[in-house]
């Protein structure tokens, strides 16, 4: 796997809080990188990947702040990163905001579209809430009668208690 896709996966893990394993399991990582290239162009995509690679290393207390400052809060990269988050979660590329287009130029492929039928089905949103995409990956007859199985996710360094607090209401399907 190329460095470029590895960097893209690293960025995507950080933005989505889904593991590299989960992201690869969608089968869509290369397709989504290709979507970025197609919609915003290779240059902007490379700028985004370079900004990610330049973040302070994990464990460094300044990394989260740097992510906000240089990517999510970047005038060029912020909206692109947010569209990438939405892409992973829904399978849909959402058209960039008008202000972005005004400033950085309209991109011919920048419209709201579902990347592919399986992209909808593999949206992370459904997995995040212990559900399934409407119309696919059905959990089985009667499963709806039981509490959801909401998958745990890695606790952050600073908010290690958040997950356990909120998941206490959630039972395990019997």
């Amino acid at each position: 796997m190329s460095d470029r896709i590895e960097t893209f996966l690293g960025l995507s893990v950080e933005l989505t809080a889904f593991s590299r394993f989960d992201l690869l399991a969608t089968g869509l990582a290369e397709r989504y990188l290709g979507t970025l290239d197609k919609v915003v162009g290779g240059d902007t995509t490379n700028t985004l990947l370079a900004a990610f690679a330049a973040l302070p290393p994990p464990g460094d207390g300044t990394r989260a702040r740097a992510l906000r400052a240089t990517i999510l809060g970047s005038e060029l990269l912020g909206d692109v990163a947010r569209s990438l988050i939405k892409l992973w979660y829904s399978g849909t590329w959402f058209e960039l905001p008008y202000a972005w287009t005004q400033r950085f130029g309209a991109k011919p492929a920048d419209a709201t579209f579902v990347v592919s039928p399986d992209a909808y089905v593999e949206g992370l949103l459904w997995k995040a809430i212990g559900a399934h995409p409407a119309g696919a990956k059905a959990p089985g007859y009667g499963s709806w009668a039981y509490p959801p199985k909401i998958p745990a996710f890695p606790a952050s360094d600073t908010k290690a208690d958040a997950v356990s607090v909120h998941l206490q209401n959630v039972g395990i399907m019997s």
Partner: protein, 623 residues
Amino acid sequence: MLFPSESALRVDPQAVAGSRDYDIVIVGSGISGAIIAKQAAEAGKRVLVLEAGTGANRSLVGYDDLLTTFYSAAAKDNQSPFPVNANAAMPRSPQLRKLQAGETDSSTYIVQSGPYVSDTTYTRIFGGTTMHWEAKTPRMLRSDFKSRTNYGQGLDWPLSFEEVEEDYRLAEQEIGVSANVEDQSYLGQTFPDGYVFPMRGLPLSYLDQQVNNGIDGTSVDLYGRIYPLKVRPYPQGRNGIPNPAYDGGRGYRPVGAVNTHQVEEGGRCQGNTNCVPLCPVQARYHSGKTLAKAFRMNGKSGQPLVELLPQAVASKVVIDPDSGKVSALEVKVYEDPRSPVYETITVRGKVFVLAAGAIETARLMLSSGLRSTSGLVGRNLMDHAYLLNWALMPQICGTMRGTSSTGGIVDLRDGPFREKQAAFAIDIHNDGWGWATGAPTSDLLELVDDRNLHGRELRQGLIDRVSRQLLLAVMLEVMPVESNRITLDPQFTDALGNMRPILSFTVPEYTMRGAAYARQFSRTVFARLGAQDHTSYDRSDFGYVAYEGQGYAIRGGNHLAGTHIMGTTKTNSVVNKNQRSWDHENLYLVGGGSMPTIGTANVTLTLAAMCFRSGRDILNYLH
């Protein structure tokens, strides 16, 4: 039960036009036409079914194409699986906008003449609207058949519940209803001794149970009468666990997918949470299941008794001026859904059945100049009015799982209050706020774009925001009003030159009084649940209706009725109690359009029951 392979063959329109041996010509392949076709074939009759859509979804590939179209659609509205076909256009709700006073909007297939803009839909493809229905199958209540006598509202049916009851059982058998008699025996509903539904009731969702935990044992007081609250399961037209006690212990065999082996698909609901717009596995009933049985029936010489001509849009009912009977149908047969090129053929038969849905059937009659002696064709248009109420539960409820809806609050379907205001039934939507807000996609956009969440906080935010969603969809009774109607105007036509329906509608005050109460009722329920009410109705909403100083966004229910109303004489109705035209003895107008009132029952089960009645009458007529 599979479609026989020869039924996929393309029928030659010229052979159809040249044929003189059809006993029955049916317009529409939805549940009404399918039931009558099957009944007729069982009696050895020759039947032609005309379908405006392409019929491509008869094959497994064609059906799965609809699913792929749905997956690929950026806006997943309730018609999103069904490709645009200008030759058989259908209403699509995302295209609507609010009207100014006196304005008409002809930019959508249904021309909206107002003042209320309806987002009601129906589906013009093989299988009709059963391809996208939610499949809730409550019976109408005994009192619903006599609302004029009982409450001074609406009209009485020319039939009593007792006269329809046996046909309700036939409809429940044909659709394959999953329900438990003990769950449905509320508000005085009774069933014959020993009756069980074909399949056991689907379990209530975890969300339903959480709501029930908060309201069970409580009640509301309405005009001095106490109504107890609880969440009750809805009967469902989708496959569950067959009840071995059905049919005197003979049991019930569900029909799964009709174009692949049902061991693989559709034998039982899997919880795809997608009944609307399309069950991916055909566990939910669609009329193709009934037609699959009809297509398999052969005549004495071995030829199939039922033929289907797709891409065939009936455009004129031709009347013989001497006898007053229907002599033929003119039908526009198009070659390609992408092209408006068509040829007109003339189809002959002994009996003609218009089963194209309440709006299309009225449209066909009016475009043929047939207003009926009563002048009521197209009038008395009804559709359930929906008022949506949405809130966040205090606890995680696992929203977005289940069939689309499993339970609801239905104890206000009847009571003396119906003298003053509309009754209602509430369904709990297992897909959360989707109908009201576009959830969960709208939640994702808000959390990412406005709340600047990513990573773990986004995941936690989605759990908090989506898994706690509760939507109470209040389905309100709407009574017949002659000025609520479908009309036509030659200036508004479709790709084939057929006139498009023009809809004029005012939500009756009786319904709005019920809506105002339903809003208060929902607030009471939310308070008992400790749920945060997020409901808001936007003044610019296309369905916004002001009533007594408040505003409400009213949604259409896709439960269209009344446009060829049934009654006791040719001056007070279009059809008799067998759905036969008073004016044309070999013409039947069937479906929701015949219903004089709709109560608080989703219309499909009742209109299916009525078609069994009509089917028998047609066979009597032919003999």
